[in-house]
Amino acid sequence: MAENFEQHSDVSAADLARLTQEAQAEATPSTAKIIWSEFKADKPAMAALIIIVGFIVFVMIGALFINTPKMMETNIMAYFNQPFTSDFWLGADSGGRSVAKQLIVGSRNSIGIAIGLTAISSTFGICWGLISGYFNGYIDWGMQRIYDFMMMLPMTMMIIVLVTIIPHYNSVTLTLIFSIFYWEGTSRLIRSRTLAESEKDYVAASRTSGTNHWKIIFREIMPNISSLIIVDCTLSFAENIGVETGLSYLGFGLPSQTPSLGTMIANANDPNNITQYWWTWLPAALEIIILCLSISYVGQVLRRSADASQRQGSIN
């Protein structure tokens, strides 16, 4: 092809190279590049991103070196050990268990469930929203009624009831139970965007030329709203950390022998613990706040980079 081109045109090879370079420089930058430059322009966002990634990697690897059953054994000698000592640098709880170690394993569990929950519920919500928004008409109407019904259910109560009905549950079943109830927000957002998107000319053109519906939905509309999907997934990740820890706090999340950030905060339910032995629950509470704020901040920056008029980073 290139040889053919050279034979039949007056453009020299050097000119061609120069033109290609110019065209590449003027082309719309890739999404990843835009996001990266946005982070480079916003230092706090970069700090938040480093905190999150560093922390997740740290707890994932750190938890591998901790023997959980051994850590959860009661050690009466270390009963409410003070923090900042050589053995227990965040103190110990009523069973003499190291708070620092529980914090690492608990973070791993909580973050792991939040990631799983985000993956499942977002995938479902995205598919639901895309199909509902694309097909419109009766399908949309029916799907919206189901959505309305799900929104009406008292979510927290339903989850607690399901957790008590299921005899043997673990983190996987727990994630699945949460997922039943947490896809609605995503689906609503994606649906409204899909409704707008399927009115556009490229969809009509594709439909006229006989493209399969599913191909239009997943290969043509979905890539076009991918920035929205990325933003929404990030924000729901932050929210989902709150969901799991909240239910574990009430005692209906992970079982008590499996530490989670929520079960650690539940130590504060004891009036003695909350004031006298603050180190048993305060680190977990602060960790949740910092995590949620950083993740949502990253989500805000992603949202900004998806909207060309709000970008702060410059791309060269």
Binding site: M152, T156, L250, A285, S296
Partner: protein, 319 residues
Amino acid sequence: MWKTILRRFLIMIPEVIILSILVFLLAKAMPGDPFTGSINPKADPAQIKHLMRINGLYDPWYQQYWNWVVHLFHGNLGNSYQYQEPVTRLIAGRAGNTLWLALFTMILTYAFALPMGVYAGRHEGKLPDTIIRVYTYVTYCIPFFVILVLGIWIFGYVFGWFPTTGSISSDASSWLSTIGSRFYHILLPGLLGALFGTVNIVQYLRSEVIDAKHSDYVRTARSKGVPNKDIYRHHIFRNSLLPIAAFAGYSITGLLNGSIFTETVFSYPGMGLLFVNSISYRDYTVITALVLIYGILNLIGTLLSDIILSIVDPRIRIQ
């Protein structure tokens, strides 16, 4: 418009029926039977079987469901196993506490959110707007139960300004001190709920005000020489008020769902705490009744909001 409201009602009917079936099936799936705890442990198994047959527990599920619904309409939700008391009376005693707290929180939320929303919209892009946006963003991101725990720790235990448990102190005897004590007990949970629940109203009001600022009627008012203060107070604010009022229904549903956490942290004897306690005692009649009540309250809340919104905004009327 009446047509819209009627349609909205008609959609609600199947929702209530499906909800009741779902709640009934969940109750069936729970371990144990309605006689748990109320009969002699030495009773003859054959006798228990006979009791269950008389009470229709071997009937097909749709027949049991029908019986349950008939009982429901007679206000009979069964007996609580934990308290040995009719569920209706038990819940009636708790519902007041929960609803008071929810109402109080909602009033405070509006009291904080309305001025903030108008102010942020009026000074769009300036420092106060930025501060309010950062504030709503931070309050939105942090899980609410963490705030409750931190709040009760700082203001309840460390400073000792607020009571940390119950809905009324035991030494309140006279009429006035009863009210005062009740109010004192809902003050901290109400304040926390309001300060951390403003985000929806503030954001909505802010964008409404920003839109209205550039609208024709504001320009007309301004050219007539109406003072800026009056434009905001009488023109813009009044126009944005009705859609904001519509949020009340949604915010009630949010507050009810949050009541499980609030009441657990503050040991406040309302329906949410009753639910958590009943779960740990496996008191299934109470659990079923509460899930049903919360579902119906959610439904009424959304219904109210939808009706108000459809009055305000013709675009969202159901076709």
